[in-house]
């Protein structure tokens, strides 16, 4: 298993990518950030762009390690966490 210092990879797609100004960033989590919900609250503090991306959480979807996730899904060191709007393909 990854130790606590191993970073998470955060990916952003569509307008979350545009608002945060990044498609990918690596972060090392504080010990008290253990769920998607807590991660969002923590990321929203990083910049005005992040705050804007996460302003309306009802329009933000998430996947942890390429599986759809929800605010209660656990996250930890080494995970790949992606944030994006509701999907619109097809």
């Amino acid at each position: 298993m990854a130790d606590a210092a191993t970073p998470l990879t955060i990916l952003y797609f569509a307008w979350l990518r545009e608002r945060t100004g990044t498609s990918q960033e690596c972060v090392t989590l504080p010990a008290d950030v253990r769920t998607v919900g807590a991660l969002i609250a923590w990321l929203a503090e990083r910049s005005p762009g992040h705050a804007s991306a996460f302003a309306n959480r009802r329009t933000v979807r998430c996947a942890v390690n390429q599986d759809f996730a929800d605010p209660a899904t656990p996250v930890g060191p080494g995970d790949e966490v992606a944030f994006f709007p509701p999907v619109t393909g097809g």
Binding site: L11, Q66, F84, V87, G89
Partner: protein, 149 residues
């Protein structure tokens, strides 16, 4: 067994039918759906760009196909979704589902496109004739269509 592809280039519908059915005599019906970039008179969409989540996309489609295979006895299945910039009139997505009879083939086709629209990580950004560009918003109707199944 299913053929799944996420690609920038166009697909050849006739070749995909041929590949799905080649040498088979157990198939009675093939359902198909092709989605295209629509430029209606009102909104004048000139093009769209399809973004996706490469590490997740094919896996998400594979799960949708597995769900279809659990629900219907399919004899073959093809899902091809394009990404990148597509102009009005171009193909976006192809779904094929083959079965021994027409009803499972048609039902599986409708199911696959309904679930692709709501459970696969693609996002469309539309470009209008006046130069504006906006991310397409998810439609409640699509969620309702996916929830029927």
């Amino acid at each position: 067994m299913a053929r799944i592809s996420v690609q920038t280039e166009d697909f050849d519908i006739g070749a995909e039918f041929a590949a799905l059915t080649a040498g088979r005599t157990d198939i009675g019906g093939i359902g198909c759906f092709v989605g295209t970039v629509r430029a209606s008179a009102q909104d004048r969409v000139a093009a769209m760009t399809l973004e996706h989540y490469p590490a997740m996309t094919e896996r998400a489609i594979a799960r949708i196909v597995e769900e279809a295979e659990r629900r219907w006895e399919l004899l073959g299945c093809t899902v091809i979704h394009r990404v990148g910039r597509l102009t009005a009139g171009e193909n976006i997505v192809l779904v094929l589902a083959a079965a021994s009879h027409r009803q499972p083939a048609l039902d599986a086709t409708a199911f696959l496109i309904d679930w692709l629209k709501t459970k696969a990580p693609f996002w469309k950004k539309e470009e209008f004739a006046d130069g504006a560009a906006t991310w397409v918003e998810a439609r409640a109707a699509d969620d309702a269509a996916a929830a029927r199944w």
